[in-house]
């Protein structure tokens, strides 16, 4: 029998359940998050136009760089201001 030491961090990742998808967007605020990949803004500009046409409220956000996770303050701001979020992974 061999006994070894666990090389992992031994931490079970915290599982936070996702918010249920809303049945309709009526009356909701939609966050648009640009991760700073080239031309992501073009994609989101067009999405914003379409959403505004539908009478929805839109908030725009931008990560400082796509190579690092979104800063915690930005994540908090999105969570408090928006009901749903669309993130653009463009190139």
């Amino acid at each position: 029998m061999t006994k070894v030491l666990d090389p992992t961090n031994e931490v079970e990742p915290a599982k936070i359940p996702r918010v249920d998808r809303p049945a309709s967007l009526d009356g909701l605020t939609v966050g648009l998050l640009d991760i700073s990949k080239p031309r992501g803004d073009r994609f989101l500009d067009r999405i914003e136009e379409r959403l505004v046409e539908l009478g929805l409220r839109v908030e725009r956000f931008r990560k400082p760089t796509f190579t690092k996770p979104a800063p915690v303050d930005l994540r908090h701001e999105i969570a408090t201001k928006c009901d749903v979020v669309i993130e653009a992974l463009a190139d």
Partner: protein
Amino acid sequence: MSQTEVPDLPDGLVAVVKQDCATCEMITPVLVELAERSDLTVFTQDDPNFPAEISDPRFDADLALSWHHDIETVPTLLLVRDGKERERTVGWSRSEWERVSGVSELGPRLPDQRPGCGSLSVDPTLSAELAVRFGGSNLLGRRVEFASLEDTHEALFDRGWTDGLPVVPPTEARVLAMLEGTRRSPNDIVAKVPPDLAPCSVEKVAINAVMAGCRPEYLPVVLAALEAVCTDTFNMHGLLATTMPHAPVLVVNGPIAAKIGMNSGNNALGQGNRANSTIGRAVQLVIRNVGGGRPGEVDRAALGSPAKVGFCFAERETDSPWTPISTMYGFPSGTNTVLAFPGEAPRNLVDQLSRDPDSLAHTYAANLISIQHPKLILGFDAILAVAPDHSRIFGDAGWSREQLTDRIVELTVRPGKELVRGAGGISEGLPEAMADLDLPKFRPNGLHIVHCGGGAGLFSAIIGGWVNGEMGSNPVCVEIIP
């Protein structure tokens, strides 16, 4: 954690000896004398019948008594009263043995004193096993048992703990031996390792270093490298998550490189040297196992590169025409450092005809321009690894690293019209607005010229960098602390 009963010491005098010790042999008449004139118990570590002249020596077969009572030298003489040690002397010193035993004129034919030998309980080949067996280990990691019929190597693969190559099973004894390589406490937190930003202790690094095949003396380099890569400046998270193939490339400077047997000569960027091969691998295993960074998950590399198994080498400082690369980061020559550079696998560069430095600088420039794409500029740094047959040409001409760097930077400036989108029949390129500018390939301090390689071969090598600056990664150089 296993724990055993601490064996009681009998009252009176206690001598701990082993047969394989000339001093123990020499003092046998003293032991006989003490057995006759006092209350002596002899414990023997190796031969149950040693010393033959003593009627009933007790055999410390599992070394439990020696280990628990901190016997480091044989012979050791203890005076015990009410089960507690009151006096102790090690080796042979007539005056000390007379003081501890209270018996005078011991061993009149012996020299006055003679040093003892190492106790078996501190033998380097046994001490880690004994520490585990007798509960001296304070390691916190979860113990994982494999069944007798399980193949340990296969079990380690099955759990997803390897990089695709076999690993050394991280038994408690091996991890304890690994931890001897650093003065740091096993519980010290080294870094928060991406992508899970998991706090990583010295112990977890040691476990992964064992698996990678490191020797204990490499551990300080592994610890320093992890501290370098797990910084916001180096941005290991982005380097791991990118679709590009880059990985931490580690360059070691200072006397530690030779001391731990690193290779900076023939095949320095290749296989065959244990330190070079396992230090970089240990860093990658920590990122995989502690950080949770696995290919196809957060690691999104489209192609990857052999550098991602682990890429570490030492700079050839002995006959270098230049100061160590660590001086670029403000460290004095002779400091033990590790430079973490976000790089890809090396590419060879041939110039067997240049004999003057400017011609060779032109060769370097012509090759360096192509990093990532000949039409993309300023976004990528590079290591230029110069082998001795090339470096001699600069040394003989008195070219410093700065002079060579400046010349390469100058030679890699190109007119924007050659670099804009569509130029040269290639869609990739810069915005049209940059057409009228003269544009450098490298940012200031983007080029890292390092001396390494074997004594024959008119070659150098290029290790291209990942996206540099705030958007990506900057190289980080840190001191290696024992």
